[in-house]
Amino acid sequence: MNQTYAVAAVTVVVLATVLIGALGLRISRTTSDFYVASRTVKPGLNAAAISGEYLSAASFLGIAGLVLLQGPDMLWYPVGYTAGYLVLLVLVAAPLRRSGAYTLSDFAEARLESAQARRLASLFVVGIGWLYLLPQLQGAGLTLEILTGAPDWVGGLVVAVVVTGAVAAGGMRSITFVQAFQYWLKLTALLVPAFFLAAAWLGDDAPRARFDAPAVFREHTAVRVDDTVRIDVGAPLTVTVSGRVDSTAYEQRRVTLTEGVHRVEAGTTLSFPQGAHVPRRAATGTDPHPASGREDPQSWSQPLAGGRDGHQLYATYGLILATFLGTMGLPHVAVRFYTSPNGRAARRTTLVVLGLVGAFYLLPPVYGALGRIYAPELALTGAADAAVLVLPDRVVGGLAGELLGALLAGGAFAAFLSTASGLTMSVAGVLSQDVLPSRGVRHFRLATALAMAVPLAVSLVATNVPVADAVGLAFAVSASSFCPLLVLGIWWRRLTPPGAIAGLVAGGGAALTAVMATRAGLAPGGWPHTLMAWPAVWSVPLGFLTMIVVSLATPRRVPAGTPAILARLHLPEDLVGRPPAEDVPAESARVQGGRR
């Protein structure tokens, strides 16, 4: 792939982000502008900004990669990401806006009148934010590495620096413009190449992607293995090897690999003949990402087939619960609602978001299916997340292919930048209010640097995790902690601070522990592994139940202001006691002066 075009495209996206951010800086004058864009963002612009922020690297690269590896069942990810917004809309959108709070911690404090609940909520906001930032930075590293051969930490560093700069400089007002721009950029970047790819595919007699059988090399293909892998060969396979396989060194020798697992060392080049089956990465032993929950390699290409012991079905429902209920608790999603002028606008904005996000998600599956046909070796090298980036070069080829590849690279970078900005913005908001001693815009800027420094440092030392998987983990934790807090806080009068705290700890803590244990490889095989890799099925009910039971056990602790708060959450703005004209100054003063 020609590096010049790709580097140029990435540079243009980065520069455009900085420029639009600077434009926002010029009109970002007050503290209210800075944090919530003065709550005057119209539904159209705000919806594009929300979608731009929400469609992360997991959506842009990850879904296609997962579909390539594991077939159409992985489409539950985009469906879940979209449905999450629907659940958010019907359960929390308008009340969350009307609560007048800025972060989820503000909500916890306002609703429960408890500083303790606030601190715990802050902890979860920061934790989930960092969990979600990590794959963005790693994805950026991967993208830049594939495009230019730069070391994998460069991409993450570029994203971190640009985002920190844009957020610290312009705050929410400029970020709104940047993200609205990036939604349309991402849509274009996937849409235009998709047309060319589809045309090339039709010109190629429209071969069908097969997911019920191993993928097949369409032509003689040489695959260079960059990291040592163990591959699972289904049937005897003759390949030409340069390098070391099963501890034996070969130099351009034809080798017949017998059925079973073989170890291919880093730097080895395997040449497969046309029509050969693509071997799968073996899941045992050195598998670097056991958290995927697909520990059974046989089920990779057989989505839900037979529902072996129900593992697959359970994992699907775990994914559904995590994404459907987790969206509402993502810190960068929640912050966005405070930029709507009122609850009604928040609802209408969410409706537009559903349309924009849904339209976008029609595209990644196309790349996944084409990747299965034209770039099957990505399943072997483990770089399936790169499917979107390499396809134009592979399928269209020539100058057109390179230009389209550059467009996709730009879009991918827009995805990293926009999601990372939103997350940094919200994590920094919490850090500056609850962790750092003094408040004000200057400290917000300090918090921004801190918000980005931690995940950046972790991304440099942690092993690579598939982008969509890592994002799934953040969703599971969010669904088990903030979903119960928001839903019960908005709809249930008897919620008490001890109940909320216990629920956050039990639900969110359990999900986090399970996820971390699986990630660290501590989970035993079989059912325990499946249960821990997809905790949402049991941790969400656990969070809800703990919150309800402990609240019922502590009826005296129901906050005195509950009826007033619930009235404010649910009544239309023009019915509430305070006139809307006083709304903005009062609340921006509140943000500036911190919590009361």
Partner: protein, 130 residues
């Protein structure tokens, strides 16, 4: 609930067409409003009634989502459960998850937004005595 506005007030309401909303509702104008703002038992009943109607709309939307989208994983396993691997559910999976789910979810959302706004309008009408 049906305090008759004075002619002067009615004239002013026409000229500003509701922009400075505070002008439209001086304290004590609508009894129900003051019941709510003063948090009397009757005021709480008003708020509860709105919450209940909004929650009903939300639960209806969620039930539809669970029924239409949430049941899909079970549906996908049906062919294999019924007659082995004779029929593949794959094309159905592609159609349902790749394309079909999105318009369905959007329609549910639109229904909910309209419903919730109507609930609020009805409630405002009730409180304002209009």
């Amino acid at each position: 609930m049906s305090a008759e506005p004075s002619p002067a007030r009615r004239a002013r309401r026409e000229t500003v067409t509701g922009v400075p909303r505070s002008a439209r509702r001086p304290p004590g104008h609508a009894p129900a409003r003051s019941e709510i703002s003063e948090q009397t038992t009757l005021g709480h009943t008003y708020v509860r009634s709105l919450m209940r109607s909004q929650l009903r709309a939300a639960l209806r939307a969620l039930a539809t989502l669970a029924l239409v989208v949430g049941s899909l994983p079970l549906l996908f396993t049906l062919p294999t459960a019924l007659d082995g691997a004779a029929v593949s559910s794959e094309p159905f999976v592609w159609a349902a998850l790749g394309v079909g789910a999105y318009p369905v979810m959007w329609l549910i959302a639109r229904w909910y937004v309209r419903r919730a706004e109507r609930n609020e309008r009805d409630f405002t009408g009730l409180v304002e005595g209009r």
